[in-house]
């Protein structure tokens, strides 16, 4: 079985100037999150689309989904967790409780604030997760990466050719992801900022899927302004 998890659990502390989480702000003529969900709704391969929402926005998310997709849809809204890791765990728990999945079942996790994801990227994720077990969407790094530990002096300037910028989706075989999450130590859990890192920490291969420079994440007010500008072009 194939599931999508649209991760909208965060409250967008970096957006500034607004109390509304960034996924609910308007891009063009509809909320960012609706643009994102549309990309998954049109893909018939998904058995269920999970939307993980901040607890106090669950009703709002449900209302939006009913407004744009009708009440007879393939989407369920769930409570997000405090961290990205918790949010993914909530997704897996829901799937395990409601579906009879096997070891080949996969989950495609995606930031709700990346509405420019393409159909091709989603398809490549599905195919890579099925074939390799785990994949991450990336684009080659264009800026030189500078490493500094103290924030004052450069420690190293690694070879840019070996570096990529991580986007989403990130996709996994569900049972494998669940098994690895449960095997994490507290220390390992504390340093997790990225679901793919769970696989990397445990020595499992994560396959690269080519992203797009247009697959931007709307994190700052500037990003939303930029997204609205390119949408109107």
């Amino acid at each position: 079985m194939i599931f999508a998890a649209i991760l909208a659990g965060g409250v967008g502390s970096r957006m500034g100037g607004t109390d509304t989480p960034k996924q609910f702000l308007t891009l063009g003529d509809k909320p960012v999150i609706i643009h994102t969900i549309e990309k998954f709704v049109i893909n018939s391969k998904f058995d269920k689309i999970l939307v993980l929402s901040p607890p106090n926005f669950i009703n709002h998310t449900n209302n939006l989904i009913n407004e744009y997709f009708g009440e007879d849809n393939n989407i369920v809204v769930l409570k997000g967790g405090n961290t990205r890791n918790d949010t993914i765990i909530n997704s897996i728990n829901y799937i395990k409780e409601n579906f009879d999945i096997d070891d080949d079942s996969i989950i495609v996790t995606h930031d709700s604030v990346r509405p420019f994801v393409t159909h091709r990227i989603i398809e490549d994720n599905i195919n890579a997760a099925i074939e390799f077990g785990a994949c991450d969407t990336v684009v080659p790094a264009t800026d030189t990466i500078v490493e500094s530990v103290d924030g004052e002096i450069i420690k190293d300037i690694p070879l840019r050719d070996n570096f990529y910028q991580g986007q989403t989706p990130q996709s996994f075989k569900i049972n494998k992801l669940y098994e690895l999450i449960n095997s994490l130590s507290d220390n390992e859990t504390n340093i997790l900022t990225d679901a793919c890192k769970i696989f990397v920490l445990k020595g499992e291969d994560v396959h690269l899927v080519e992203g797009e420079i247009t697959n931007i994440k709307i994190t700052y007010p500037y990003d939303l302004k930029l997204a609205n500008t390119i949408l109107k072009e």
Binding site: I42, N43, S44, H119, R120, I230
Partner: protein
């Protein structure tokens, strides 16, 4: 829904752009596309500068097949293979939609098929049998141009049809001659061309001649001009010379410049000149039907597939156009993976 479109911004320069499509009608993912001379003229910047200024940025390519992703009315199923019809009526009048001013053409009047997804009305899609070769099917649109010209010719022809002449040894000449052989099996098909290597590939034709080496006294009943550009002048001149009275000349070749025609001889022979451009739904259905009835046609048509390029980036797209430009014969097919 947000869609990524890959547009030609200026000659030889593609860019990503964001477009908005409504989740109504049918959403199709392009799978195989084919470059046409018309696309090349935009890419190379050989259209007049005011035309380029008016039309660019615009996504190119009007020959393509794809896979249905989503259908708001469930007429098509996800995964159905379809050929996309580039001519798009925005109203109806008494004229055939491919000649109506109320229609727009993809890759000319608005965005072509180089995008992540394409949204089309149901009547702009024709389902393909699952066993069709998709590389060959990608240029069904070009076949429909030949097909509609032949169908029109069948309606208007006045004189006998013993000998049909095709001028041009390029892609359209090849398809037109092949379809004439299929649709007019009682006629003798003679192809006139300039390149011996190309003419050698027309093995299905009854006779082929180099244009400067035509036997004395040879006459034809009707002609199909598939030359285009400035060279169509000499082709039409030769056709008027060889054609029997009351014959029909079907013109297919596009030229950026006005082509002088010997009207005195057109009058004297009572000739009919028939212009042909683009095509409509019934032509697509007709082509799919003849391809289905005679799968051998795929074998002949696959000879036209000379380049297959995997497109994963805008650089790949640019390289495919450059490769196509230096190809003497055949079609450049784009396996769309961007």
């Amino acid at each position: 829904m947000i869609n990524i479109v890959y547009r030609l911004k200026s000659p030889k320069f593609f860019e990503e752009a964001i477009d908005n499509i409504e989740l109504k009608d049918v959403v199709v993912r392009p799978t195989y596309l084919s470059i046409c001379q018309a696309d090349q003229r935009y890419y190379q910047g050989s259209r007049p500068s005011d035309v380029l200024l008016e039309k660019l940025p615009m996504a190119l390519i009007h020959e393509a097949v794809g896979e249905v992703i989503f259908d708001s009315k469930n007429v098509f199923k996800p995964g159905d293979k379809v050929v996309m019809i580039p001519n798009t009526p925005f109203g109806r009048d008494e004229f055939r939609p491919n000649y109506s001013k109320l229609s727009k053409f993809r890759g000319s009047g608005f965005d072509g098929f180089t995008s992540d997804l394409v949204c089309l009305k149901h009547d702009r899609l024709v389902k393909l049998p699952s066993d069709f070769d998709l590389k060959v099917s990608s240029f069904i649109e070009l076949m429909t141009v030949a097909y509609q010209g032949i169908m029109k010719f069948n309606e208007f022809k006045k004189a006998s049809c013993n000998i049909l002449g095709v001028w041009g040894d390029g892609n359209l000449g090849y398809i037109t001659a092949l379809f004439l052989k299929e649709l007019c099996p009682d006629s003798k098909i003679i192809v006139f061309g300039k390149h011996i290597e190309n003419l050698n590939l027309f093995s299905f034709a009854d006779e082929t001649y180099l244009i400067h080496d035509v036997p004395k006294g040879l006459k034809i009943d009707h002609a199909f001009e598939c030359v285009g550009s400035a060279a169509s002048q000499s082709a039409i001149e030769q056709i008027i010379d060889l054609i029997n009275p009351q014959g029909t000349i079907n013109l297919f070749g596009v030229s950026e410049y006005p082509i002088p025609i010997n009207t005195r001889m057109v009058l004297e022979k009572g000739l009919t000149l028939q212009g042909n451009s683009r095509s409509e739904r019934e032509d697509f259905e007709g082509v799919v039907d003849i391809l289905q009835k005679d799968p051998q046609l795929f074998n002949y048509l696959s000879k036209l597939v000379t380049n297959v390029c995997e497109i994963k980036s805008l650089d790949d797209l640019k390289m495919s156009f450059d490769m196509d430009y230096i190809s003497d014969f055949g079609k450049t097919i784009l396996k769309w993976e961007i």
